[in-house]
Symmetry: C2
Subunit: 419 residues, 2 copies
């Protein structure tokens, strides 16, 4: 079989599994999840051995510490992975829920109800726990899933998949409800992107190169999980102690994630007062600061010069770009020009200004007096998240179970015809 | 300027207009719509003259009756077009509406509110009234729009656009809130499809070739308005008089539209009784019938033989394919294999069977005892419709104003940071 034929076969099996899943009772989906948790536990030895192979091969290829760390399934990672599966069983299922219902003058009753999307393709990079997390969330919502993990995690992913499929089978579901591309060829991604008659949605989670490949080739809808160039704007009427607390938390608590702060905007009216304070606090936390001329002027010698490129950069590190702006309009204009509309914050005690910001700034999440770090399915109370959408269609911001569903209209008549 | 540069300039102007629109009060959007209605009336002479040019050129190129008819702006078309604009002003605006709100244990208040999508690209074929209808619905929901009409309607569309832009300007909005590609080059569509940093959503409305071009090239989300291969399944416990009434309505009331019936499935238990009745009724209404062997057996000499291709065909004409099936499972399997999941009906007096069909058949609209012809924004009570989505992401089935919006999360804090 050619690579193209292999991918086609996987897509067609996914489609059949997706159609099958739509007819299963919710109880059976949960049973499958429980069987998967058990099967993972039973396969622990095999999975950790497979992970060792990936780690050894990665080391041979000279892969660095941070990436090795992400690849590694530690004892605690394994436990929380299995625990995560069982937690999803306990979540309320959005499937079958009525979104709204109404009646028409002709007597037709219309019900809009949640249904599975069908088949979801998930393309991701190193972390093998995504194999389990994504599969489980898709299955809970009645979707078949086709996974494509990073080549460096292929042994771990294959072992995890084997355990998941064993669980599905034990619960009476077809194995193909969860599939993983077994090959690591680069060309597999564009080929997968052309199976639009079988795959209903593609979710790429990874770096810019991966996202670009998927958006260029995909003929089905794509929900991107892209970068977060997040801003905090300190307004002239800000509580400066609160501002410092929020900025430090947003920048330093976990700098390597998409909802970490990357650019700080400070109103010119308070810059002379606030800049010395915040520069000192940031430097105490090992944050490198890159500022515009005014920031350098008020912030002192610790502030390096920012280039135009800095405003567009997601550092994912202890680096912060800082700019002095003139009022809220300039702050919003900066965010619109350079940001990624992920998570943006205003700090102010003026509720009118806050309202203006919350209404006019078009980001997935806009905050008044809180840290960007709350953009997260768990923090939102969703119980689980498949990721954070940087798109505006279908799902925006943290994606929970409901965002993994579509809907249909059920229409109840008594012989109505159109006049 | 090259074609590529021209398209880029239009896309960038659209983006700027979209950002501007997000900050306008809803009142101003309605004022713009009213100014557009007035401007259309004032430009009536120019518009009808431009339409004459299109009609003459179409006739010269030997374009046929049905297409000429769709191209023509009749006196009544013009009136209802203008009236349509004023009706949209009266519709409740979904923008700014809270979809849901909740509080977290840490005191954060989260509000999910409706916002514009941004910039919407609409690619359509001959009917020039789409130029007005689509623009008005997009503007009502705060979206800038970039239109690409059929080349055969270019003079009409340019004149209509001129009037719309004059109206926008009178209400203090930038002209670029409504733009039309002024060129008719085929290559303009793929170029437009690559402006993913400026255009947030592409809606193609037209034939298979157009849809395929857009899905292949688009890097932004696409919501397809594609074909309707709609089914009626007559269950063994159907009221056969009701079945006949619904089938005739679904097939004959307006055969050229996407929610018209294309395939009739009859349960084998009632085929000997129902087929002679329905064949006679359909033939009386000039419907050509193409059936499988059983249909030919029970339906008589009037039934032609159906080919495999017939089950996949959207006739948009007075032709109906008919098949005898064994029970609801086979009916659903047929719809899943050959249908387009647009609008599918079961006719039965058995509520348990109806429920099974409504739950298991995954179409945008599934009906119990009613005609497929109700799949329509107006019939749903949406007040207006941009079309009928055949996709499952973001919007499925009839798309009203709410489906032309996205959402964002507004988060109200008091200094919360993440632990």
């Amino acid at each position: 079989m050619s690579l193209e034929q292999e991918i086609r076969a996987i897509a067609l099996q996914g489609k059949a599994a997706g159609l099958d899943l739509m007819k299963r009772p919710l109880k059976q989906l949960d049973e499958a999840l429980l069987a998967m948790a058990l099967s993972l536990e039973e396969s622990k030895g095999i999975i950790l051995t497979a992970n060792q192979i990936d780690l050894q091969e990665a080391e041979k290829r000279g892969i660095s510490g941070a990436m090795l760390e992400r690849l590694k399934i530690k004892e605690s990672t394994f436990q929380s992975m299995v625990e995560g599966v069982r937690q999803v069983v306990g979540l309320e299922n959005p499937l079958g829920k009525t979104i709204r219902e109404w009646s028409r003058p002709n007597g037709l009753k219309i019900k809009q109800v949640r249904v599975p999307i069908g088949v979801i393709g998930i393309i991701y990079e190193s972390r093998p726990n995504v194999t389990v997390d994504a599969s489980v969330l898709c299955l809970k919502t009645g979707n078949a899933v086709i996974l494509r993990g990073g080549s460096e995690a292929i042994h771990s992913n294959r072992a995890l998949l084997q355990a998941l499929q064993t669980g599905a089978k034990k619960a009476g579901l077809p194995e193909a409800v969860v599939q993983l591309l077994p090959m690591t060829d680069r060309e597999a991604i564009p080929l997968l992107c052309r199976q639009e008659d079988c795959i209903d949605l593609m979710i790429p989670r990874g770096g810019e190169g991966l996202i670009r490949t998927v958006t260029e080739h995909a003929r089905m809808p794509v929900i991107k999980h892209y970068n977060g160039i997040c801003h905090v704007y300190v307004h002239e009427k800000a509580d400066l102690q609160m501002a410092e607390r929020i900025i430090l938390n947003a920048k330093c608590q976990r700098p390597g994630v998409c909802n970490a702060l990357e650019t700080l905007l400070i109103d010119e009216s308070i810059a002379p007062r606030f800049l010395p304070q915040i520069v000192q606090a940031l430097r105490k936390n090992q944050v490198e600061i890159r500022g515009d001329l005014s920031t350098q002027q008020w912030g002192g010698a610790e502030v390096k010069a920012a280039s135009e490129e800095d405003w567009r950069t997601e550092y994912l590190d202890l680096i912060l770009s800082v700019r002095v702006v003139k009022g809220i309009e300039e702050a919003i204009a900066h965010m619109e020009q350079y940001g990624s509309r992920h998570s943006d914050v205003i700090i102010t005690e003026d509720s009118g200004i806050a309202e203006k910001f919350l209404n006019e700034m078009d980001s997935a999440t806009v905050y008044w007096n809180a840290s960007t770090r709350f953009t997260d399915g768990g923090e939102f109370g969703f119980g689980a998240e498949i990721g954070i959408s940087t798109d505006k269609l279908h799902a925006r911001g943290p994606m929970g179970l409901a965002e993994l569903t579509s809907y249909k209209y059920q229409i109840f008549g008594s012989g109505q015809v159109r006049a």
